[in-house]
């Protein structure tokens, strides 16, 4: 069953780029003890990710209306963000004041939210056939 669509892949690429830029400026801001840089990069990252998700999500729906209540894009964001964050530490790009533990705690809390989202997705699947919303199949 097709769930990895071209627009999901494009979103993953954009999210990867944005997360790398975010981690760079975050570590830079922490190293320089600049709360302005830290706050600004977090706000810009959040906004850019939202805009990307909105844009590619809309395009994805036009390509194939998969009825997943946004779960695929959420799971993709979770994987990309946490994977890059862990790799950031693995390659020692992090600030000396950052702790890997924070990444794991974030992933854990976010993971619980992702599981809740998964439950909504599984519930929504009752209204779908092969992941497509029943009422949109022949529109």
């Amino acid at each position: 069953m097709k769930t990895i669509t071209p627009y999901l892949l494009k979103f993953a690429v954009a999210a990867t780029f944005l997360t790398i830029v975010f981690r760079y400026f975050l570590s830079y801001g922490i190293d320089n003890k600049s709360s302005i840089i830290i706050a600004l990069c977090a706000i810009l990252y959040g906004t850019a990710m939202f805009v990307c998700g909105w844009y590619f999500g809309r395009k994805d729906g036009e390509y194939l209306p998969i009825y997943d209540v946004g779960f695929r894009f959420h799971a993709c964001t979770y994987l990309v963000h946490n994977l890059i964050s862990v790799l950031w530490f693995t390659f020692n790009f992090n600030s000396s004041y950052e702790q890997l533990q924070i990444i794991y705690i974030t992933a854990l809390i976010w993971g619980v939210l992702l599981i809740i989202h998964l439950l909504f997705y599984l519930l929504a699947r009752k209204n779908s056939i092969n992941n497509l919303y029943k009422k949109d199949l022949f529109d």
Binding site: M1, E62, Y63, L64, I129, N130, L132, L137, F138, D139
Partner: protein
Amino acid sequence: MGNEVKLTELLSSWEDTYKKGQLTLWIFLSLQEGKKYVDEIKDFVETKSNGTITCEEQSLYRALRKYEMIDVLQYELRKGNKGPDRKYYYMTDLGLELFKKFVDRNINLFYTEEIKKLLKP
């Protein structure tokens, strides 16, 4: 508003509503003839419907992707004149069964004598 203008507007409004959902039927009808690629399906729909049903390529591709995903259509790749291989769509057994049942329940009733008489102007 003159009666002629009003009639045209009413007809247009009714047809707009009526045509929604018609694309599926026309796509399936075109594939009853045999395997076709997108341009051939588009030509069939527009020609055989006397131009009353028009389909943009994007809408057609989107519909075909959906039907492929729900296993009512499949495609095979064949060489085109130039460029990449063409996708020739055809109906699966499930698609054929679905089409048959839909026609039985919704189209064939227009061929009963009683309804045929009513449809005569």
